[in-house]
Subunit: 295 residues, 4 copies
Amino acid sequence: MMNTAYRSVHLTASRLINPNPISSSLLHLLAAPRRSSPLRRRFLATPFSSSLYIPMAAGDDQVPPPESHLLEKQFESFRVQLEESAALREQIRAVVMEIESATRLIQANLLLVHQSRPIPEIIEKAKEKIDDLKKFYGRLAEILQKCPGQYYRYHGDWRSETQAVVSQLAFMHWLETGTLLVHTEAEAKLGLNSLEFGLETEDYLTGICFMSNDLPRYVVNRVTAGDYDCPRKVMNFLTDLHAAFRMLNLRNDFLRKKFDSMKYDLRRVEEVYYDVKIRGLISGGDPPPNVQAQS
Amino acid sequence: MMNTAYRSVHLTASRLINPNPISSSLLHLLAAPRRSSPLRRRFLATPFSSSLYIPMAAGDDQVPPPESHLLEKQFESFRVQLEESAALREQIRAVVMEIESATRLIQANLLLVHQSRPIPEIIEKAKEKIDDLKKFYGRLAEILQKCPGQYYRYHGDWRSETQAVVSQLAFMHWLETGTLLVHTEAEAKLGLNSLEFGLETEDYLTGICFMSNDLPRYVVNRVTAGDYDCPRKVMNFLTDLHAAFRMLNLRNDFLRKKFDSMKYDLRRVEEVYYDVKIRGLISGGDPPPNVQAQS
Amino acid sequence: MMNTAYRSVHLTASRLINPNPISSSLLHLLAAPRRSSPLRRRFLATPFSSSLYIPMAAGDDQVPPPESHLLEKQFESFRVQLEESAALREQIRAVVMEIESATRLIQANLLLVHQSRPIPEIIEKAKEKIDDLKKFYGRLAEILQKCPGQYYRYHGDWRSETQAVVSQLAFMHWLETGTLLVHTEAEAKLGLNSLEFGLETEDYLTGICFMSNDLPRYVVNRVTAGDYDCPRKVMNFLTDLHAAFRMLNLRNDFLRKKFDSMKYDLRRVEEVYYDVKIRGLISGGDPPPNVQAQS
Amino acid sequence: MMNTAYRSVHLTASRLINPNPISSSLLHLLAAPRRSSPLRRRFLATPFSSSLYIPMAAGDDQVPPPESHLLEKQFESFRVQLEESAALREQIRAVVMEIESATRLIQANLLLVHQSRPIPEIIEKAKEKIDDLKKFYGRLAEILQKCPGQYYRYHGDWRSETQAVVSQLAFMHWLETGTLLVHTEAEAKLGLNSLEFGLETEDYLTGICFMSNDLPRYVVNRVTAGDYDCPRKVMNFLTDLHAAFRMLNLRNDFLRKKFDSMKYDLRRVEEVYYDVKIRGLISGGDPPPNVQAQS
């Protein structure tokens, strides 16, 4: 392929000398060999060259001006750069597709909570896949290590998959402990660290919002299964989560919209809580009225 | 606003207690300071505090469960992070707006070439503004230096302005020399260097495409003004430029589309060249007929 | 129209002569018959013919250059091909419109389930139409048999109608048996077989998704009619169906989007099940609490 | 990955038996092993199974109904089918990208005709690449041979690239001979044959239209270079080509639109011919007036 490129460069170059020395155009682009190469001399010797190179001054040497050398190198180096970048994205894409597969399997497991499968069992199986995730993020980190300072250049290629992963990890954590999985712990679970290849704050927060989006459905199905304590627990959790987010002064972007949608999750859960309360399905168990005198 | 935040924290906190110590939810979110800080003691000293921490076992110390400490720090640090990032973007935006102003002034100058004003004069005025641009990019570099590795995170904030700048620099360079401004020279003109804060290859290439888009109009106006040599020079230049780009194997994205549009610039210029040639407005300067005897 | 064609051929042919015998252009296009045919001889005998073929050398025989003969045949055969293809599409379209009519009638029947008409009755009527469908697909198969290997060339012409048919068949099957109509059985019902003219997997799967989209409405209306067992059955069915689809690793295309929407059907049915459960409208039927002791 | 799938199937399956034998849901989806496998028996033996399988009749064997076996096989076979199809598309895509690269290089060569490079030289270089194309289409044919009858299913994956190839081949043929490259010859050049893997008539015709789109530019640049015979030759050629197409009775689709645009190519060439004629740049050389008495 390069040979043809050389030849087409020469054919192009033949038009580059024009009577006006000031306005010499682009010269000798691409992978044309150095000035002294046999290919170039052959080119200059063709029957056409005498008519193709019409220099300003008769008898001018048919050698392209110096800056053409710089241009050649320029576009050749661009070509190499762009190919390297594309190759990198291909590597990243391969790993990201593995991450996607793993999250799909974890999701298949997690969705079983909606059918009242025992949680320890579900968590156990899902955890096996998390070891896989850890491995894949390790690979991503290796790939990115080869190009320091370029993390954010390619970050978009694994952003949404990572948000989904955080959402799953946080949901599993909540099922096990009833608490919010913190950022540092999420990072640790995936074998990431913020010094080299970390978990972006915005990805973490967006993932938490996605987890929140799944809670109303969980609560509905738990109540259907007879667990009437669930609504209150989830409602408390979501209320605090929402309050936490509200302190973040989010701008008007994707994360802000996800946060706004959390309000609807909370309202749905409050309605389910109302449903069980009003039917007397749960006993007292709420803090005395004086503490609850709130807006 | 922070005061209201504190109050909502207090009001929210009152709901944080639940009878089940195992499932303690989020506690003490937001801008709550360390446990021993005066702010916290003030918090603990409020009328609400006694009810905020109603531990399962009577007589419990009103200290939130250990993991809440971690959560506090988490959202507080998020808040700080996001505010720092927003502040950074504000700084960047301020400089970018100055860059935009400068390019607007340069454009006002450059457009005078369409009215046949002497090129040296136009270039001279525009060059003054380039010193300004150099200054502004210097400021951008300083801002980004404070957060190493984050160049690409914020790059989108000055991307299109930079493409416009390259387009102008390249046009001016062509007016002066008839050659293509190379990437390294463009970088130097803006006081950039690829080790610290450089000129992105894609921004450079897109800027060159934008310059190409302006050439047909220039040629038309030059011919109107009687400069019948212009079409040929521009045609040669664009032909070689297009050939150079074609070796880049561009994917199907914005840069690719810009490159595709270059073909229409070239065709328009060829048509103008045709117009002047066929009316005998330019002298020979083409290879003799026998070289071109084709079918 | 053909007469005009002949005349335009003649008029065109008059321009076909050029002084350069090497560069003879296209000659004798279109519906010109063989050289020795009476039509051609008639052509050659016209007042124009003497000027149509003005060969370079005087006294040349008025026979068009050899490659023109090939060109004639080419465009004539293209004309025939394209007309045959168009005719085929017309035949297909006629049958597809009959399929559309039949599905419209089946739909009119099936919609009666939302008004609590007895299912056996509805199924009975719908089944009559299925015999019609079988007949129509038989005709389609015959049409396609005449052009082996072209199934996929025309498949788009009956794709969406077939998806609708599958959706209906699957719904009827579920009403009767509570199970999913499998692909092979759907094929059999329509008299198709995968060796000759089969039911495309993607059409089958898309049809199943469409059926899923109709179930929430059915459940709502059944509950309104007092059938409180319906939600649980449908919920179990959809849960399993969704789980089955999730194993398919669907790419991001139409089928993928249809599958994604299935999640909303399931959530809606879960909500209805929740409604009847919490109002005590259905008796136990759930596994005892100890199995569901979760956080 | 398959192990986890099996387990999740079992967990799902545990809910599938319901009190109503008529409405048994989907059973034992996905990659669940055969009824008699150890995995299944282990599942059936778990502490949960007693509560999960609530058969209609007490003491029922916990064996899923027969049709579940069919469903398992169904979705597993779907998964395999869809993966095979995706893998095939990947293979096709790899070859198509090679075809794209080759056409890009041929284009780089062909564009040199606009700079009056000698045609034999250009054709020679381009022909080397055509051998490559022949190789690539050979690979495509091999890939498609593995799935007989599926040519049209994947045809869209190489359709536009093939149209571009035909356009180039036809242009090269016209440069060499001044005639239209016929379909059979185009097929031969690419090593295709209509019995196995051929050149679609519509792709050939569309490719010819693309070639026509490039002719006005060629004519303009030839006249600029002093070749005043070119316009008339191209005009004659395009006129006949357009007349040929007009016999095809094209429906209103992409090919039809491409054909309609040919009219603008012809008009542009006619204008160039007018330009040179009216300036006396070409001598007589037209057939005597009486033959040219046309509309």
